[in-house]
């Protein structure tokens, strides 16, 4: 296949857009890992839940922007309940049982989604205000994809600002580093943990709502994006936000160019990279501790 500049540019943009989506999912996964020391294997279920809940909100209100707010909020609420009623009671039993619990949770959420919305893919329209395309270097590109990219970047910036520049962010980072000490200083750390878990679920739900129109809403969506998110947090470094950013765009571009250049090997290559990083540097490219 002849690769002209336009094709490369479009593919590159596709990769960036997918990278932003994966980042929204993996950032929550990574922060929650940093906080609880365990990987939430049901994290992608919140992505799926956000997409389906957003779809229903859109159906009721007919307004995309309302669904963009309510979908993630509902996913965050489910996340908060999950942390409080399911994860906290098993915490003292150790990471093994926490991991096991999230496996069970992902099964239950998947089945509930199939029961509530059916197994068929749901038709989602790009919101009318964001349809159409723009001219970029002699080629057209859909506005909606650009919206995803810039919206995701805005969320990423806001997240980084809150986490690293505000008092609240300082409390969260302190609670991650030394929960006992922060608790002794008068902060309700269980509440902080709960809110952070809910934030992660909400971010994943947000990704689900905005990804719906381009990636589709169907019961298998959690597995596909979940795998990519695992690869991202592992390659970037569990618990590292910067790592999640870099790895998200890396995986996004790999997926995008992989489909174009070597469709046979892109999936294999992705897990190969994951295995190599884990074997050589288990803490990931930007992880701090092993």
């Amino acid at each position: 296949m002849a690769l002209d500049l336009t094709t490369i540019l479009i593919t590159c943009l596709h990769g960036l857009v997918y990278g932003v989506l994966i980042f929204l999912v993996s950032s929550g996964l990574s922060i929650v890992f940093g906080m609880m020391g365990m990987l939430n294997l049901a994290h992608a279920s919140f992505y799926m839940l956000g997409a389906y809940l957003g779809y229903s909100v859109l159906g009721i209100t007919g307004n995309f922007w309302v669904s963009l707010v309510l979908g993630p909020l509902l996913a965050a609420a489910v996340g908060s309940l999950t942390e409080h009623f399911l994860l906290r009671p098993v915490h003292e039993a150790g990471h093994l049982f926490e991991l096991l619990l999230t496996i069970g949770l992902s099964l239950v959420i998947l089945e509930l989604v199939k029961w509530g919305w059916g197994t068929e893919p749901l038709p989602v329209q790009i919101p009318p205000s964001l349809t159409g395309s723009v001219q970029i270097l002699g080629s057209t590109y859909p506005i909606y994809r650009l919206f995803i990219f810039f919206f995701g970047l805005a969320v990423l910036t806001a997240l980084a600002l809150v986490l690293f520049k505000t008092n609240l962010g300082m409390i969260v980072r302190a609670a991650i580093t030394n929960p006992v000490m922060v608790s002794a200083l008068g902060t309700d750390t269980p509440l902080v943990f709960n809110m952070v878990f809910a934030l992660g679920a909400g971010l994943a739900g947000l990704a689900g709502v905005i990804a719906g129109p381009i990636l589709g809403i169907y019961p298998g969506m959690a597995t596909v994006v979940g795998m990519d998110a695992f690869v991202v947090v592992v390659v970037g470094g569990l618990g590292s936000l910067l790592g999640a950013v870099v790895a998200s765009f890396l995986i996004g571009e790999l997926q995008s160019f992989g489909v174009l250049l070597f469709p046979q090997f892109s999936l294999i290559l992705m897990f190969f990279i994951m295995a190599v990083v884990l074997s050589i540097k288990p803490q990931g490219l930007f992880g701090e501790k092993g």
């Binding site: 049982f97 096991l100 619990l101 099964l107 089945e111 509930l112 199939k114 695992f230 999936l267 884990l278």
Partner: protein
């Protein structure tokens, strides 16, 4: 009679009942029971790593799948291959893959172990899915022969007969389970548990922790490969379903529902999953929801699994009986 001898007697009776299944089970239930047997070995082999070794493998289907695919491929391409060689090829291939992966797996623990096993599993899944020329991709592999079992001096036994194949499965799985049972009683098995409890102390005491883990992972992979190989011969069809993430999750579900860390737990879990799963799936489309919810309830309130319930009832019975008979059966 001591409790130990009583336990042996009970296990022998259970073994005899398992062997006698063809005489009182219908063909449908006998087929389900065959599934129980190889899934039991699959879950037991995972339990060696998770229950005894303390590491959660999120990719045990890799070995199950390799065993299934290698057996299917060798039966398909090697003319006149016997039943036992086909079985062993599947198991050994899985063991070799397991040994190779172990080189990398012995360096990591905890979440990193779970993630690396997931990566390896997905890597092999991607190969099975994409290498269509060999594996058939999504369509899978079928149409391979199921050779009869040749026993010297006795003759050959037709394996297309459900009862015959059941007995063959029972013997193969029985031998493998005895192997696993023996393993946890050897010094190696004791070291595996020691590593789970305190790796630093184990190293201080002079145990070669890397070597111990290497053997553990390789043996568990071999056993899972045998289970997968039996799966292939029983189903006479292998597709990516034998090696995908859901197969790995199945093993975890069986292990935990049955009782993680107890040798007999996963067998009970396999039986529960196959029979209850079959029963529920005929009642409702949402059967996986109930399995998942039951699993969560287990993790929350009943971490010992079904086996602890059974053992509790058993020892209660023993105490009651010993009270009646003047403590003669007390251990």
């Amino acid at each position: 009679m001591t409790t130990r001898r009583l336990n042996t007697a009970v296990l022998t009776i259970i073994g005899l009942v398992v062997l006698a299944c063809p005489s009182f089970l219908s063909t449908v239930h006998l087929r389900l029971m065959t599934e129980v047997l190889y899934y039991a070995l699959f879950a037991v082999s995972l339990n060696l790593i998770t229950g005894f070794g303390g590491l959660l493998s999120f990719g045990h289907a890799a070995y199950f799948g390799v065993g299934a695919y290698i057996t299917a491929l060798s039966l398909l391409h090697i003319k006149g291959l016997g039943l036992i060689p086909a079985l062993l090829m599947g198991g050994v291939a899985a063991g070799i893959i397991g040994a190779f992966f172990s080189i990398f797996l012995i360096r990591v623990s905890g979440t990193y172990y779970a993630m690396l096993t997931l990566a390896f599993n997905q890597l092999l899944y991607a190969v099975a899915l994409k290498w269509r020329a060999v594996t058939g991709g999504d369509d899978g592999l079928g149409g391979f022969p199921k050779p009869p079992l040749h026993i010297p001096l006795i003759g050959s036994i037709d394996m297309s007969n459900t009862a015959n194949f059941y007995w063959f499965t029972a013997v193969v799985i029985g031998v493998m389970l005895l192997l696993a049972w023996h393993l946890i009683r050897t010094p190696l098995g004791v070291s595996i548990v020691l590593l789970r409890e305190n790796e630093e102390r184990a190293r201080f005491l002079g145990h070669r922790t890397a070597a111990i883990r290497f053997y553990l992972f390789t043996i568990a992979a071999f056993l899972a490969g045998i289970a997968g190989s039996m799966f292939a011969m029983f189903q006479e069809f292998v597709s990516t379903g034998a090696i995908d993430i859901f197969k790995a999750v199945d093993a975890i579900l069986m292990m935990v529902i049955g009782g993680v860390g107890h040798f007999f737990g996963p067998m009970l879990g396999a039986m529960f999953m196959v029979f209850i799963g079959d029963w529920l799936s005929r009642l409702t489309d949402m059967w996986e929801f109930y399995i998942g919810a039951f699993f969560i309830a287990m993790v929350l309130y009943f971490r010992g699994g079904l086996i602890s319930l059974v053992l509790y009832a058993w020892y209660w019975l023993l105490r009651a009986v010993s009270g009646l008979w003047g403590r003669r059966t007390a251990s």
